[in-house]
Amino acid sequence: MGILQTLGDVMVKNGLITAFAFVGIVVWLSYLVSNKLTAGRIHGSAIAIFVGLVLAWVGGVVTGGANGLADITVLGGVGVMGGAMLRDFTIVATAFGVNFDEIRRAGIGAVISLLVGVLGSFAVGAAVAYAFGYTDAVSMTTIGAGAATYIVGPVTGSAIGASSEVIALSIAAGLVKSMMVMIGTPFVAKAIGLDNAKSAMIFGGLMGTTSGVAGGLAATDKRLVPYGAMTATFYTGLGCLLGPSVFYFAVRALTG
């Protein structure tokens, strides 16, 4: 057995630890680039998240799988490290030390942002679906739901009997949204006043994609994360509630 073979075996057997080391190197290099090449103007975490997405693309192209870099055998641990369990566990941890009064102050705005965010994304997605020739109520609803999040899309689609092609499209729409939020947020943060707890909560409610909000706020200002994540976490549930019911009936009524 060659040395590389042995090394590979060690990495596979200790997948999560390998992921820690690997992500450590990615983050280190990203902060190096941030400091040396952009003089700190682009946040190191923003670069690291972008690099992560590029690596996910590479992984997808190389393996043809759906889990990005995690489909490469020796880096399978990245899937555990970046999976929902650890993601949600660390998001909850960021709430430590959060001021409860800040959350109460955003109260009504946060609720409005959730409703506007879900219904707005539905409407935009459905209109785009119509423009691209998906004119039946089921497809419009499913693609609209996908524009909410990539979980609401397939949940809604399977509930109302959409074709697998349309469901795949709704997932893609949700993925595009999540990635754009991850990458774009730090660049628009100033323009939309994303510098305080209240606007972060409203941002979370409007955008809704947990991964997008989590990544976007992390790349903007780490301290905003708990506020945005708090509201975003209600979004997918609300979307799954409204998508196959209220929204589907509304679209069906409109399209006749």
Binding site: S45, W57, V92, V124, G146, K198, M207, S211, K222, C240
Partner: protein, 130 residues
């Protein structure tokens, strides 16, 4: 002890996810409704109460703070396991739907933020710690 902090965090996490699942079943959707948010509220309330009684010692806090600090690397790993290829292959319909939803909602952030008065900007950050 550090494990007390990790244990507190884990207990809040599990309770929150559990309540979120129950809530989802209650309103009949196949999704967790606000589990993470409920867990965060539990952590805020419990840690606040413990701090006020002086029961949250420094090592215990470290058990929570570590996981909070490991958050960004976890998000980097999350980014690295996304199905980027599928997003890019979704074609113009998927791209337009996703992109317009983002642009529209971003534009609404300042509008809704104005409800009930503007928020206070967070103070200048201290040392960068990731």
């Amino acid at each position: 002890m550090v494990i007390y902090g990790v244990g507190l965090l884990a207990a809040c996490f599990l309770s929150g996810i559990f309540l979120g699942d129950l809530l989802g079943e209650l309103i009949g959707v196949q999704a967790n409704v606000g589990g993470v948010g409920i867990a965060m509220l539990l952590l805020i309330l419990f840690s606040d109460a413990l701090i006020k009684r002086g029961r949250l010692k420094a090592p215990t806090r470290q058990g929570v703070v570590f996981w909070s600090a490991i958050y960004i690397p976890v998000i980097v790993a999350m980014a690295a396991k996304q199905n980027v290829v599928a997003a890019l292959e979704g074609g113009p319909a998927a791209f337009t739907a996703g992109a317009l939803a983002v642009v529209g909602c971003l534009a609404l952030v300042p509008v809704i933020s104005r409800i009930g008065g503007a928020g206070e900007p967070l103070p200048e950050p201290d040392e960068e710690d990731v």
